[in-house]
């Protein structure tokens, strides 16, 4: 930014412009004004459509939050961008798909207890499937961590990063093999029936299948509700683990200073594995929820949601759990709103544009702690 020339006195007007960062403010205000104007006019033109977008954005944001937590926890503890995390998410989606479509695991309550009420049966069945996905993902993550990352813990960070990229490719293309997940798009079978409600001037009504959506109404389905409830439940559990339990304390200590944590008698390797497992478990749950919301699975499905969730984690301040959650909600809204009001094809680009702008204004993210440069 600066030439090597010696500094010469500059006119005071320009000096004032520089010191007050006038141009920077001008630039940012311009950006914000454009966004506010787009959203404002959209809201004015069709409030129900806008509300619909916000609800869809929330649904997406909650799924991103689950993935982002894994990124932020792993980064917080080993300073590694775990590129394979998105593919663990993919594994979670596929596990639930296999459990439902091949084994019909979600039907076990009705088989074992024939008289059980259908709602309770599909509830228990779905929970079983999601727990299975989470367990498989956790196991996969522990294996990955032990085999690929652990031997490189003292190596330069780039080695671990390249390894993460390698693991990611391996999972993707191993999944693409014909006898694993196949390279095709597969339609996902939901473990329960979708019910859609219409919220409009006539109050809340269930939508009959095949019925057209009435004008000027907002629709939401049990999928959104399940995603929100499941995510909040998992978040509360996670928050409890991290803040209230001994393992959580050890995790925070390890994240703060591995060397000292080791001296304090903490099994650092074990804690790192647990962190990977918890993060992967959340990603596994996210995989199933995402597949339920967007019922199609493929071996590359984890890449973009994974990246966006990582962006969300960075946006919120990497290493911060509330930050990841807030970042993910912002990401979900940004994606859906930009798809609706700015440009549908640009939805993937806008997530990164927001990231770049936020990082420039607040280099450590929204909730990130300022790190003092050490001289």
């Amino acid at each position: 930014m600066n030439s090597t020339k010696a500094v010469s006195p500059t006119p005071s007007f320009i000096e004032m412009l520089v010191r007050r960062r006038v141009l920077r403010t001008f630039f940012l205000v311009f950006l914000v004004a454009v966004v506010v104007w787009r959203i404002g006019t959209a809201l004015w033109a069709n409030p129900t459509l806008f509300l619909q977008q916000v609800i869809d954005g929330l649904r997406l944001g909650f799924v991103y939050a689950l993935i982002a937590l894994g990124y932020t926890m792993v980064y917080g503890i080993v300073r590694l961008i775990n590129f394979a995390h998105g593919d663990v998410f993919m594994i979670g989606a596929f596990m639930s798909y296999l459990a439902i479509a091949r084994v019909q695991l979600h039907l076990w309550p009705t088989k074992v207890f024939p008289g059980i009420s259908p709602v309770l049966a599909s509830g228990i069945g779905s929970i079983t499937v999601i727990l299975l996905s989470m367990a498989v993902c956790a196991l996969a993550a522990i294996t990955i961590e032990r085999v690929a990352y652990k031997p490189l813990r003292s190596a330069p960070r780039i080695s671990a990063l390249i390894t993460a990229i390698g693991v990611s490719f391996f999972l993707e293309y191993f999944g693409a093999l014909d006898f694993v997940f196949t390279p095709n798009f597969i339609t996902y079978k939901r473990p329960f029936d979708v019910t859609t409600w219409v919220f409009g001037s006539g109050g809340v009504q269930a939508l009959v299948p095949g019925q057209a959506i009435p004008e000027n109404t907002v629709t939401f389905s049990n999928i959104s509700i399940i995603i929100v409830i499941a995510t909040i439940f998992l978040l509360v559990v996670l928050q409890y683990i991290v803040t209230q339990t001994k393992i959580g304390k050890a995790m925070r200590a390890t994240a703060y200073d591995q060397q000292t944590a080791r001296l304090m008698g903490i099994n650092v390797n074990g804690i790192i594995s647990v962190t990977f497992a918890i993060g992967a478990g959340l990603a596994g749950a996210a995989g199933m929820l995402y597949a339920i919301a967007f019922p199609q699975v493929t071996f590359l499905m984890g890449v973009l949601p994974g990246l966006k969730a990582f962006v969300a984690a960075v946006l919120g301040g990497i290493g911060s759990i509330p930050g990841a959650f807030v970042g993910a909600l912002i990401m979900g809204q940004a994606e859906v709103l930009s798809a609706a009001y700015i440009s549908t094809p640009m939805r993937d680009a806008i997530a990164f544009t927001i990231l770049i702008v936020v990082l420039l204004v607040r280099p450590t993210g929204i909730f990130g702690e300022a790190q003092r440069e050490k001289a």
Binding site: M1, N2, S3, T4, K5, V7, S8, T10, I14, E15, L17, V18, R21, L23, R24, F26, F27, L28, I81, A148, P151, L152, A155, I158, S159, I162, T163, I165, G166, V167, S168, F169, F170, F174, A176, L177, D178, P183, V303, L307, F310, V311, V314, S343, P345, M346, D348, A349, A351, F352, T353, L355, I356, L359, L360, V361, P363, E373, K374, A375
Partner: protein, 425 residues
């Protein structure tokens, strides 16, 4: 000392030009099938783009995943120019882009000098100035270019077709590289102020943004000939082995000369210790920008060459998953090793497209992408410094200057010497 450098240079150029001639003869005789010739050309292109990344990451220490985005920019820019010339007999693409490049480039250089004098100017403010200037001048460039294109059309039409196409092609390649460099300057200006991982993720974002823009190049950007996500066809296939080799040699010599100059040492000092470099009077921001722009220039150059190999471009070629390719090549070859990068870049397509296709049984082609990450993992576990580590062939190696005789007298003048010596003894 100079004699040794000369011998090394002779050896280096002898071997490389020999390699070039052998390959060229094999191509002419027909021993080397077009398939393998393409792999060699691809190798050279990858070498250029990876050398650019090695400058940014290996020597300057900036973890960039944006290399592929600049590669894409170079490819599409150059392809657009040659496409318009061969398919529409129009030089409008050439002149318009040429004037944009020249005007924006001049503006950047002038503003850089002027803004550098301001004390405490923040990156975003500077970015705003550059952006406004670039946009304004781009509009002017379009107008001038459209006017100049008309007489140039007739001039080039008067030349033999082969010569005219070659002129347009070479200019297109250079313009593609320059556009990539200028975009990288604008993008790098604010983003280079971010910390390492954040910079990495922002540059990854850049690659994704470029890919999405290319997906919609016909609708959003208004370049109908690029055909968006359907892929651009009809680009003249004029990148021969000669051209890729020529540009690769130029890039190697430029990188080598730069690294062995005071500027190269300044670039490397930023990687070694940013704070110490600042304290030694090195303008760290300046050298980060310089290296980033230079690396992106190489990426654009490689992209422009690549566009004319198959005559076909598709946004999926510039998918961010591919953007890890140059990073993997650089790490495979050895971070900070020019030799290793070039070697790995040639091996990469040969192994992935050539060898693995040959040794894997039919029907197992998808296994290539399972095998290569495994190779990468094994490599990282066993040889994390890359195949070549810090090794360089003699020409690329830094020659340690001989000690001067005079020094022995100097030493006796220094009163601290005996006391210090005693401690080390």
């Amino acid at each position: 000392m100079f004699k040794r450098i000369d011998r090394n240079s002779l050896l280096f150029f002898g071997v490389t030009i020999g390699f070039f001639v052998v390959v060229q003869v094999l191509i002419l005789v027909g021993v080397l099938t077009p398939f393998y010739e393409t792999l060699l050309r691809l190798g050279a292109v990858y070498a250029i783009v990876s050398l650019g990344l090695n400058m940014i990451y290996g020597f300057n220490g900036q973890f960039s995943l944006g290399q592929w985005g600049f590669y894409a920019i170079g490819a599409y820019t150059a392809a657009d120019i040659t496409f318009r010339w061969t398919n529409q007999a129009s030089t409008a693409g050439l002149t318009v882009l040429l004037f944009i490049v020249l005007l924006v480039g001049a503006a950047i250089l002038i503003l850089y000098k002027l803004l550098g004098r301001l004390r405490g100017l923040d990156a975003l403010s500077a970015f705003t100035v550059y952006l406004l200037a670039a946009f304004g001048l781009a509009v002017v460039g379009v107008k001038i270019g459209q006017v100049v294109a008309i007489p140039l059309n007739s001039v080039l039409a008067a030349l033999p077709a082969g010569i005219a196409t070659t002129i347009v092609y070479v200019l297109a390649v250079i313009i593609g590289a320059l556009i990539a460099a200028e975009v990288s300057f604008l993008f790098g200006l604010p983003v280079l102020t971010l910390g390492s991982d954040y910079f990495g993720i922002a540059t990854l974002g850049f690659t994704i943004i470029v890919k999405v823009l290319l997906d919609n190049s016909d609708t959003l950007l208004g370049f109908e000939e690029m055909k968006g996500a359907r892929g651009m066809i009809g680009i003249p296939k004029v990148t021969t082995w000669f051209w890729v080799f020529l540009f690769l040699m130029i890039v190697i010599v430029v990188v080598r000369n730069l690294l062995h100059s005071s500027y190269g040492r300044a670039i490397v000092s930023v990687r070694e210790d940013e704070i110490a470099a600042k304290a030694m009077g090195i303008d760290v921001g300046h050298y980060k920008t310089l290296t980033f722009v230079l690396g992106s220039f190489f990426a654009g150059l490689a992209g422009a060459l690549y566009a004319h190999i198959n005559g076909f471009l598709h946004p999926d070629m510039f998918n961010f998953i591919k953007s890890f390719d140059p990073m993997i090549i650089v790490v495979f070859g050895g971070l900070g090793s020019v030799t290793g990068t070039v070697f790995a870049a040639f091996v990469w397509p040969l192994v992935l497209e050539g060898l693995l296709r040959q040794i894997l049984p039919p029907g197992f082609e998808t296994w290539r992408y399972v095998v290569y990450p495994l190779l990468l993992l094994i490599m990282m576990l066993l040889k994390p410094n890359g195949l070549f580590g810090n090794f360089e062939v003699p020409y690329l190696r830094q020659v340690l200057p001989a000690l001067r005789k005079k020094i022995s007298t100097e030493r006796s003048q220094a009163p601290s010497a005996p006391a210090v010596k005693e401690v080390n003894g």
